[in-house]
Symmetry: D2
């Protein structure tokens, strides 16, 4: 299913007058305040976030899962879903594959399909937190960190395979999220687990093509509830340094202990040139994987402020790979992703409005009140007209959610796929 350009244009027509009025007003203020509005729009238009292939179906919890109708049943349908998202929002121009859930059968066909949607293949993700059918070794007690070398070798081989698959699709990076850890004190030896992990990652790193990057994710707990081998940015950073220049830390917003200052971690990593990837979501308690910006939008803005600072001031850091990593338990997954994309663009736009020069000056003068005023002035600005304009400039929807509903996209998907189709993966 694809969105009809004409119907999209019709939908936009209804909103264009209001949009123009709002945009002109905001543009007037911004220009008056010394902002280069076109430069900001260009940045917003260039900002693209990858959608993971597992995010198109309804998620669940350990207590069960409530399905959603019209879920994509195969990789082709998943890419179609991302195509819909991208058509509407113009910010979802990439897919991040999860292997083995979404191994392509016909590589050329998949590449053509993605291209037809203007979608590129971003980082590929390996999976050693579940056992695959007929697997020789089990990951029940760990994979890259396992005391058993046969298990480690199987996990290394899987990651090498994932790189190969990604390479055929044009991906340039591998994301390793290692769920390995322990549920009980004494269950494992921390030093051996860490050493095994370092050695395993180095084995994988060796096979990395020259223009690839390795992203090492960290997480304090879950699915293991006493310890996780790569429990924080410090461990990931240490491992990335041990692997080499192409290895980086990946930050997932939900993978932190309560009250962690993530903004500061981002700043530190970019200063050291080691922030490789970034996963968006929101949460209140743990790794809740809620819609981006739905719970703590100001924290998201502050993190974007650090990201923008780093992108402008840290040439030592590569341009990060962005991805949404959320779970859609009670919302239509596509609507949920639209809301996430909107929240990301909003935070980015507001961060671009921060008067960095004035902020630096206020910081030097220890004018704490002024520092806060500068950040809040940007944050309090209603930037929605900017986002609308950025989408319009790329032929997207002024109001993506509204358009999604007006065009009855979910209804059409159900018609095409049936009510009971189930997305592969979790």
């Amino acid at each position: 299913m694809r969105i009809d350009e004409n119907r999209l244009e019709d939908a936009n027509k209804k909103s264009i007058a209001r949009h123009n009025e709002h945009f002109d007003f905001l543009a007037g203020i911004m220009t008056n305040d010394g902002h280069d509005i076109n430069a900001i729009l260009q940045k917003l238009q260039d900002f693209q976030v990858a959608i993971p292939s597992w995010a198109l179906g309804a998620g669940g919890t350990r207590f069960g899962r409530f399905g959603f109708q019209g879920e994509p049943a195969n990789l082709e349908q998943k890419i179609d879903d991302i195509g819909i998202l991208h058509k509407l929002t113009q910010t979802a121009g990439a897919v991040s594959l999860h292997i083995p859930w979404d191994v392509p059968s016909d590589y050329d066909a998949i590449k053509d399909l993605a291209k037809s949607h203007d979608i590129v293949f971003d980082a590929v993700n390996s999976n050693t937190f579940q056992d695959q059918k007929n697997a020789k070794e089990s990951y029940k007690y760990g994979s890259l960190s396992n005391t058993n070398s046969a298990v480690r070798e199987q996990a290394i081989a899987h990651n090498v395979d994932v790189i190969k698959i990604g390479d055929r699709l044009g991906s340039k990076s591998l994301t390793v999220w290692l769920a390995d850890g322990t549920n009980f004190p004494g269950q494992g030896n921390f030093q051996k687990a860490l050493s095994h992990t370092e050695d395993s990652l180095k084995e994988i790193y060796k096979t990395l093509p020259n223009d690839w990057k390795l992203f090492i994710e960290y997480k304090p707990y879950e699915p293991n509830f006493y310890s996780t081998v790569i429990q924080d940015w410090g461990t990931s950073f240490m491992l990335a340094n041990a692997c080499g220049d192409k290895a980086y830390t990946l930050v997932d917003l939900g993978h932190h202990l309560p009250n962690t200052n993530i903004e500061q971690i981002v700043s530190t990593l970019m200063l050291k040139g080691k922030l490789g990837g970034f996963h968006f979501n929101d949460s209140k308690y743990g790794d809740d994987d809620l819609t981006v910006g739905s719970v703590k939008p100001y924290a998201l803005f502050l993190i974007f402020n650090a990201l923008v600072y780093g992108m402008e001031n840290n040439p030592q850091n590569p341009y990060p790979a962005w991805m949404i990593d959320a779970s859609h338990n009670v919302k239509d997954p596509l609507e949920d992703l639209i809301q996430s994309l909107e929240a990301i663009q909003e935070a980015y736009a507001k961060a671009l409005l921060v008067d960095q020069k004035a902020l630096t000056l206020a910081q030097q003068n220890h004018d704490v009140v002024k520092c806060q005023e500068i950040l809040q002035d940007a944050y309090r600005t209603d930037v929605r007209p900017l986002l609308e304009k950025a989408r319009l400039n790329r032929n997207g929807a002024i109001n993506p959610i509204e358009t999604y509903r007006t065009l009855k996209i979910r209804e059409n998907l159900i018609k095409e796929r049936g009510a009971d189709s189930v997305a592969s993966g979790l």
Copy 2:
């Protein structure tokens, strides 16, 4: 499968000399310190903890599940498993059924089976956090709190059914764990959800037989990640008061925000005569459902200190219903439960050793150092010989885990049931 009395006796014979030596030494000290050792033994022997019918199989997380061999495939086998536990530990003399996972088909047969294992039927548990096949209404957006009265009525009717089932088995209490809540700000109206819940609980309460109790569980989050209708003891207590004298709060150790002082909550509820039930487990991060006493044994001891105080000084509070509510992701579920039962008995025994008279005096004198010395004196005592003796006195195993392994119980279960049997439930 049942444990052969003779083989159990043989296993005990190997440990009896060491046990006697240790017990005599400890008994000497305790008697010297003024303790009535037989009274303490009697209390330990009388302390029985219910095993829920869903706890006999391997648990999982939202990221997957690693199975365990020889799992009980039906209610009969589950009760057999509890029979094994009880035979070894002599502290698992009750089962807590989960409906609809474990509805008996032949009530008399199940009752006879349980009786043959010396097992009684404790609280029955309803389930409105999952949809049952062919259910008319869905609980995706709540059950007893749903804005839709048809859903509420279905959920009420289910609870009434559960009472009826329990009544036929000899249960005397219903536990309601209400997963209802929201994942996002604004998703629900807190006041309406609370009012609906209160009304629904009152409907259920009305149908409660005279000699029954209603236990209202609370939990701050999961499976909902923004809010839970019954989020804390205060809400549960308020609802229990609204229902009436037969309604009580149920405390689950894992259902609290980080750093909550659970000991104090227990004390408050018992003072007000409203602690009805208690679920044991342990955790480090959230509702991790780990083996009891595996992470924070001193906190467990302090809670038992409050429980013992309440049982001795609060006639206004009924004798609480005890249950283990843990999940067994990387351990043999039966071994895990034996470790939990041992930890519970240990904490109880140590709490019984606290010199309450001296503690009261030190508290009155604000002798904080002495207060700590008194608690730690009890806690530091190695009470394992006491637990062994209590089991021996009831013809259980001196060393349950060791005996479980010596008698090759899991191997026998696998032989009987096959490697691939899967427990019903989660």
Copy 3:
């Protein structure tokens, strides 16, 4: 020191054109969307927040305090400071006295002074968390909960005195923040401490004038680090019910365990008619007492959404007493308070923009995406022009911080009071 009306008008003149442009634009949109802009303005103008008498000086931590120049050295100067705040912001029309730090010497003079600033006397606060010089009994081991009746009586008598002092000033409520608790397991008996507290509060309640209210604050920890007698809303609510109709719970934003859903607590209390008072501040880790809205402005908005709902739909709940309770370690206290007042008004204004009718409908339809859209639509609106207009309508400053600096108020205070004056209190 007082702000010169003419100089304030001059300052406003510089901003009036920009203000008018922004306001007209926003008013146009809002009117178009069906809002009654004058009704909203009236509500904002009527919303007044009390400033506590201890908030005008620099705060500190247990590691020390860095002073601020020109601090008010006595109650008269404190009221002058609030006068300045109120003149600029038009939302600080009340003072909340802390006894014994700020006992008036000449009641009539103080009342006249306050009146001249258009300031009323809101809730009075007692202090039993410090020992006063020459006090007969010490609160080291508790006050209203102490095992020693002499200490309890002293603490009760102090509260009764505070009521008398407040009564002479026109206050109508007493706030009791009880720091009582324990630092170590076993230090106290939870049940006795709670019973003593209930009895003590009832003694105080007895002396309450008929048109007064008693506000019972709760807090999970600090200054005691194992337990606090009134540790959560449930305990406060229980005690308020035990005292009677004039007793209420007081919510302080910083007094919660990590991740507590405060919005829900507010809703529950208002449904039950028991939310008496509300203390504003912000925090990231514990009771950090930071500027309101500086860390989690969306949470503040959501809480205001619950407050607005309650004020409109819960006639059973009295109009709450509002107060800022923050500490100013690295900012000019007056500038800090202006930022807090601005953040409060902003959250209130945005909450007033929520389309409650549409929200109710979306909640009934379980349209979770729409619910979020409705809240975010209100939150994303830039309401600053509304706040400016509300201030202007009451002859306040368009831009309070800017005006405070333009008028060189701190410099003048230092000139008047000297650099080394120190505010009484903490």
Copy 4:
């Protein structure tokens, strides 16, 4: 004041029979289980923990301080207090000075005094979190990280001075706890603050004598409540690596976010040879600085298990510097320290009992139940007779707290020093 040897012996005589009986029983079991009891005793006897010079007086919170009688009023009296502690416990053979609170006036006299108590000078601590009287620059907005180079230079110079003072006393290490950070988003630039800190530490490191070590402490929050420059072990580790081989990370138990797995951090640091120092205390909520082992004794044991493993298997890591860092708000500081020392020795003794060989085997076999049994077997052992024997072997007290009271030490201190003496420092 010094403890009379004869009176100590008399006190021991009363307990010796009971001690012997308990010790013989435990020694029998342990020997039977294959332990070399004398080797364990020797390790316990060799384990010495430094007492900081600020820990001998009553601590406080930001809400006030309740004094204690007979506090040491100068450095000499503080060392006398540690002498008393060491005489009784035989495990407090070191003092850790805090500069400028405790600068010696007569170095030789102080060294002689310490020597007469068998006390050595461990790490010295600098203070840049408070302003000293007449200081030219203020640390209100940071010290080593300050944007103002004059402030950084003053802070560096202070640290260099502290090294010089320590050097004259025989200290061999400097502990830097950097309180620098921000209270509000935007207040500082994270990258500049980190870079300044790195540069400042390198300046200090340059002046370090060859046989000295630099310990870099970390802490997530307090006294700053939005961010701290050295917020976690990862940042400290990165800075230590940047400084050089003599720079190490220092772990303080209370300086972690909720639920952090400290045991794992210790293991990682020792594997990498970078654990330099360790501060003991306990806590429930934040950096509560409670008596060691009073809240989470099992966590302490697990950490000691990691420390023992590292000391035995990581020659790349130096022997760590141990110190107690607690605050004594409601206990006699000396009794509090005795309880802390006892808890430390207890955890160490239990960790020494862990059957490391069996544990390694069980870990390799993924026998999670067995792993837990092995740890709990050691933990459940009542090791008090071992601690008594270790003290007796060094002519200390069998029961230090009891002896402290029997000998009326506090009463004598009050007699000597008066009731109102106040310890310098916090």
